[in-house]
C-alpha cells in the first residue's frame, strides 16, 4: 500500500510541476502549486500509516501554511488583475533588472 500511495503522490507532484512549468495563467499555476503541496501531504499521510502519527500532524502544518499562502496569493492575483486586466504571466514582466 505504501508503494502505491507514494507512486500516486509522485504522479500528482509531477503533474503539478509540469503545470507550473508549462502554463501561463497565474491561477492555473497557483492551483498546480497547491497540487504539489497536496501530493506531499499524501506521502506524509502514507508514511504516517507506517511510522506513526507525526506525519499526519505535519500535514496540518502544511495545510495551514497552504491556506495562508492561498489567501495571500489570491489577493495578489486579484490586485494584479485589477491593475493589468490580465493574469497571463507572460504579460507581467515589469519587475526585472
Amino acid at each position: 500500500m505504501l508503494a502505491e500511495s507514494l507512486f500516486f503522490s509522485a504522479v500528482l507532484f509531477t503533474v503539478g510541476v509540469v503545470g507550473v512549468l508549462t502554463r501561463r495563467n497565474a491561477i492555473i499555476i497557483f492551483m498546480c502549486v497547491e497540487l504539489m503541496l497536496n501530493a506531499v501531504n499524501l506521502s506524509f499521510v502514507a508514511f504516517a500509516q507506517v511510522y506513526g502519527a507525526s506525519g499526519q500532524v505535519f500535514v496540518f502544518f502544511v495545510m495551514t501554511v497552504a491556506a495562508a499562502e492561498a489567501a495571500v496569493g489570491l489577493a495578489i492575483i486579484i490586485a494584479l488583475f485589477r491593475h493589468r486586466h490580465t493574469v497571463n504571466l507572460s504579460n507581467i514582466n515589469l519587475l526585472k533588472g
Partner: protein, 757 residues
C-alpha cells in the same frame, strides 16, 4: 482508503460484521445507494454542464465574450441568451436540457422510492431499539482516533431522509419548469444534486466528523446556489456573506468536536452518548460542549446573532430558497440538537439558552417580516422565525415536537416559496414581454394575482393558514405542541431547576412562551398581509403587463398541489390527544427509541402530564391569537390604497426601523467589518507596509546618492547593495516561467547530488 495498512483494513472488515439487527438482510442494506444516487446525478449533470457550456453560452459571463445575463434573479426567456439563432447550438442545447431534466429529478425519484422501501422495511422490522449502523471503511485511523465512514439508520435519520428526498424531489420537478430557459440549467441541477448528496451524508453519518462533512458540503452548495447568477455583484456578495457567517458557527461545531474527543475519546454518536452519560447533570464540560454545538446551529439554522445571512440568501433562484433555505439545510441545526439529545438533556443551562435564543429569534424575525415588501424577504424572515420555534421545541426537550414542526414547516414553507416562485415567474414573464425593468418580486407591483393564478392562490392560502396555526392545517398541530411543551416545562423540569445569569429557569420558560405566542400573532399578521398584497385588491403590475400574467405550467403547479395536500393533512402524522381523529402521537412514538431517553431526563424520568383543562386553555389561546392576527390584517390593511413601488412614499418612525431590519446589518458593518478594514488599511498597509518596510528600503536606496561623506558606512552599504544588485539584475529577467525552470533544475541538481554522491 487507499492508504490503509492491512491491519486496519482487517479491523474495519471485522467491524463490518455487527451483532444481529432486525434490519439485517432487508432493503436497508442498500442505504449507501441513497447518497450515491444524487452524487451520480451531480457527476452526470456536472459533465453535461461542462460539455454543453458552448451550447448554453459562456459559463463565465464576466469573461466578456458572449451575451450578458439578464440581471434579474428570475427565470430568463430564451431570446435573452445563448448563441442566438444558431440552429446547431439550439438543437444541442435542447438535447442536453432534456437529459438534464431527466437525470436531475430522476435520481431523486429513485432515491425517494428507495427511502420509502427502507421506511416500510423498518416498520416491518417491528420494535427497533438500536440504530442500524453500516460500516464501509476506516477513514481516519490516527493514534487513539478512529473514525469510520459509516451510515447510521434509525428513526430520526429516516424521517430526515424522507423529508429530504420527498420534498427535494418535488422542488426539483418544479425547477424543471422554473429554470428551463436559464443558460446555467445543467449547472443548476448539478449543484442541487450535489446538495442532496451532502444533505443525506449529514443526516446518515454515524459520527460527528462525517456529519460535519455533510454540514460543510451543504454550506458549499448553498454558497454556489446563492451566487448562482454571480455576474450580478449583489448575488455573489450574498453567497460570500452566507459562507463567512457560517464559518463562525462551524468554529463552534469544531471546538465542540475537539472537546468531545478530548474527554470522551470518541466521536461517533453511540460513543459520545455513552461518554456523556458518565457525567452528572449540568456539569460544566457538557454545558460547554452543548453551547459550542449550538453556536454551530445558530450559524447553519440562522438564529440570533448569526441569522443575517439567510435573508440575503434569497438572491439565489427561488426553488433553491425553498429546498435549501427553508425545508432542509437550515433545519440541520435542529437535527443536530435532536441527534445530540443525550448531551443536551444533561445541560439544562445550555437548553435554556437554546430556548431563549429560539424565542427571541422567532419574535425578532417575525417583527421584521411585518414590514418587508419583497415577497421572498417576507418568507425568509418567516423561515428564520419558524426555525426559532423549532429550537424552542428541541431546547425544551420536546424533540418530537421540534422535529414535527421541522417536517410540517418543510411542507408549507416549500409550498410558500414555490408559490412565490410561481408568482415571480409570471411577473417576470409579463415584464419581459413588455421590456419593463420593474421589480418582479416587490409586492407593491403585484396585487390581484388571484384572478390570473387561481391555483397558486388557493394553495398558498392553505400554506398561510397552516403557518398561522389555524386547525386542522399542519402548522397548527406542530406549533401548538411546541408552545405547549415550553409552557409545560416551566415547572417541575430540570429547566425549572436551572438558572441563567441568576434568572430562574421557570421564569425564562414562561417568558419564552409569551414571546412564542406574540410571534405566532405576528406570523398570522405578516402572512395574511403577504397574501392580501399579492393576490387581493386591484392589480398594480401595469396596464400593458397585465395581459401577460398567467398561471405557470403543470410541471410547476403539480408539485405545488402535492405540497398543498401535505400542508393540509400533515398534522395527522402526530395528532395530539385532544384531537383523536386518527392515531395519536404517531411521530412521537416513532422517534421514541432515539430521543425518548433524552426527553424523559428533562422531566426527571416522569412523562409530561398536563391537566386537560390547561391543555384546552392553551389550545384555545393559540387559536384565538392566530384568528386575531388574520382578522387584524384583514381589517387594517387596505390593498386598494397601495401604490406601485416607484410611487411609494418612504416609511417613517418605527415602520422605517422594521423595513430596514432594525439596522442590524449596518450595526455589524460598523462594529466588525469596518474596524477590520480600517486596521488592514491604516495599520497593516499604510503603517507597516508603506511606512516601515518601504521606508527601510527607501533608506537603502537613498544612501547611494549620498555623496557628502565618502567612505562612510552608509555609502559602503549603498555600494554593496549596488554590486549585489548588478549580479542579481542580470538574472532577473521578469519572466516567472524562467524562474520556475531554474528552480526545478536546481532542485533536480540538489536531489541528484544527494542520490549519486
Amino acid at each position: 482508503m487507499m492508504l490503509l495498512p492491512h491491519e486496519a483494513m482487517l479491523a474495519a472488515s471485522q467491524l463490518a460484521a455487527p451483532a444481529a439487527h432486525p434490519l439485517d438482510g432487508t432493503v436497508a442494506g442498500y442505504v449507501w445507494l441513497l447518497p450515491l444516487l444524487p452524487l451520480l446525478g451531480f457527476l452526470a449533470n456536472g459533465l453535461l454542464s461542462v460539455t454543453s457550456a458552448a451550447h448554453f453560452g459562456p459559463a463565465d459571463p464576466g469573461a466578456g465574450h458572449g451575451p450578458a445575463h439578464p440581471s434579474s434573479p428570475a427565470p430568463h426567456a430564451p431570446s435573452d441568451h445563448g448563441a442566438a439563432g444558431d440552429d446547431h447550438h439550439a438543437v444541442a442545447r435542447h438535447r442536453h436540457a432534456s437529459l438534464v431534466s431527466l437525470i436531475g429529478p430522476g435520481v431523486l425519484v429513485v432515491a425517494f422510492g428507495l427511502a420509502l422501501a427502507i421506511f416500510f422495511a423498518m416498520q416491518g422490522a417491528g420494535e427497533m431499539k438500536a440504530p442500524f449502523i453500516q460500516r464501509y471503511f476506516s477513514w481516519m485511523p490516527v493514534g487513539d482516533l478512529n473514525i469510520d465512514v459509516a451510515f447510521q439508520l434509525d428513526q430520526l435519520s429516516m424521517l430526515m431522509v424522507l423529508i429530504i428526498t420527498g420534498v427535494g424531489m418535488l422542488i426539483l420537478l418544479f425547477s424543471v419548469g422554473y429554470m428551463r430557459d436559464d443558460p446555467g440549467y445543467p449547472r443548476y441541477f448539478a449543484y442541487l444534486n450535489l446538495f442532496v448528496f451532502f444533505m443525506l451524508v449529514l443526516v446518515l453519518g454515524s459520527s460527528y466528523p462525517l456529519m460535519f462533512i455533510g454540514w460543510e458540503g451543504v454550506g458549499l452548495c448553498s454558497y454556489l446556489l446563492i451566487g448562482f447568477w454571480f455576474s450580478e455583484k449583489a448575488n455573489a456578495d450574498a453567497g460570500k456573506k452566507a459562507f463567512i457567517v457560517n464559518r463562525i458557527g462551524d468554529f463552534g461545531f469544531l471546538v465542540a468536536m475537539f472537546m468531545m474527543f478530548a474527554n470522551f475519546g470518541a466521536l461517533d454518536f453511540t460513543g459520545v452518548a455513552a461518554g456523556a452519560s458518565q457525567l452528572g447533570l449540568g456539569s460544566v464540560l457538557v454545558t460547554a460542549i452543548c453551547l459550542f454545538l449550538f453556536l454551530g446551529c445558530a450559524g447553519k439554522s440562522a438564529q440570533i446573532p448569526l441569522y443575517v445571512w439567510l435573508p440575503d440568501a434569497m438572491a439565489g433562484p427561488t426553488p433553491v430558497s425553498a429546498l435549501i433555505h427553508a425545508a432542509t439545510m437550515v433545519t440541520a441545526g435542529v437535527y443536530l440538537i435532536a441527534r445530540s439529545n443525550i448531551l443536551f438533556s444533561l445541560a439544562p443551562v445550555a437548553c435554556l439558552v437554546v430556548v431563549l435564543i429560539g424565542a427571541l429569534t422567532a419574535i425578532f424575525a417575525a417583527s421584521i417580516g411585518l414590514k418587508q415588501w419583497d415577497i421572498k424577504k417576507v418568507l425568509a424572515y418567516s423561515t428564520v422565525s419558524q426555525l426559532g420555534y423549532m429550537f424552542m421545541g428541541v431546547g425544551s426537550g420536546a424533540y418530537a415536537a421540534g422535529m414535527f414542526h421541522l417536517m410540517t414547516h418543510a411542507f408549507f414553507k416549500a409550498l410558500l416559496f414555490l408559490g412565490s416562485g410561481s408568482v415571480i415567474y409570471a411577473m417576470h414573464a409579463a415584464y419581459h414581454h413588455t421590456g419593463s425593468h420593474d421589480d418582479a418580486q416587490d409586492m407593491r407591483n403585484m396585487g390581484g394575482m388571484r384572478k390570473y393564478m387561481p391555483i397558486t392562490w388557493g394553495l398558498m392560502w392553505i400554506a398561510t393558514l397552516a403557518i398561522s396555526g389555524i386547525p386542522p392545517f399542519a402548522g397548527f398541530f406542530s406549533k401548538d405542541e411546541i408552545l405547549g411543551a415550553v409552557h409545560a416545562r416551566h415547572a417541575g423540569s430540570t429547566l425549572d431547576g436551572a438558572s441563567l445569569l441568576g434568572v430562574p429557569g421557570g421564569a425564562i420558560m414562561m417568558f419564552c412562551y409569551v414571546l412564542g405566542l406574540a410571534a405566532a400573532f405576528m406570523t398570522a399578521v405578516y402572512m395574511t398581509r403577504m397574501m392580501l398584497y399579492t393576490f387581493h385588491g386591484p392589480n398594480r403590475t401595469g396596464d400593458r403587463e397585465r395581459d401577460h400574467l398567467h398561471e405557470a405550467p403543470w410541471i410547476m403547479t403539480g408539485p405545488l398541489v402535492v405540497l398543498g395536500a401535505l400542508s393540509a393533512v400533515g398534522g395527522w402524522f402526530n395528532l395530539p390527544s385532544f384531537f383523536p381523529a386518527g392515531r395519536v402521537g404517531a411521530l412521537e412514538h416513532w422517534l421514541d427509541p432515539v430521543v425518548g431517553d433524552g426527553a424523559l431526563r428533562f422531566t426527571n424520568g416522569a412523562p409530561v402530564e398536563v391537566p386537560a383543562s390547561t391543555e384546552y386553555l392553551l389550545v384555545g389561546i393559540a387559536i384565538a391569537i392566530a384568528v386575531a392576527g388574520i382578522a387584524l390584517a384583514f381589517v387594517r390593511l387596505k390593498p386598494a390604497t397601495l401604490v406601485p413601488k416607484t410611487d411609494a412614499p418612504a416609511e417613517h418612525g418605527f415602520e422605517r426601523v422594521l423595513a430596514n431590519k432594525y439596522f442590524v446589518d449596518e450595526i455589524y458593518d460598523a462594529t466588525i467589518v469596518e474596524p477590520v478594514v480600517a486596521t488592514s488599511r491604516g495599520l497593516l498597509w499604510r503603517g507597516i507596509d508603506v511606512g516601515l518596510i518601504d521606508g527601510f528600503t527607501r533608506l537603502l536606496i537613498q544612501s547611494k546618492d549620498d555623496d557628502s561623506a565618502p567612505g562612510s558606512s552608509v555609502q559602503m552599504g549603498g555600494l554593496l547593495t549596488r554590486a549585489v544588485g548588478l549580479v542579481g539584475s542580470t538574472l532577473q529577467s521578469g519572466r516567472v516561467g524562467t524562474y520556475a525552470w531554474v528552480l526545478v533544475v536546481g532542485m533536480l541538481f540538489v536531489l541528484g547530488a544527494f542520490t549519486f554522491r
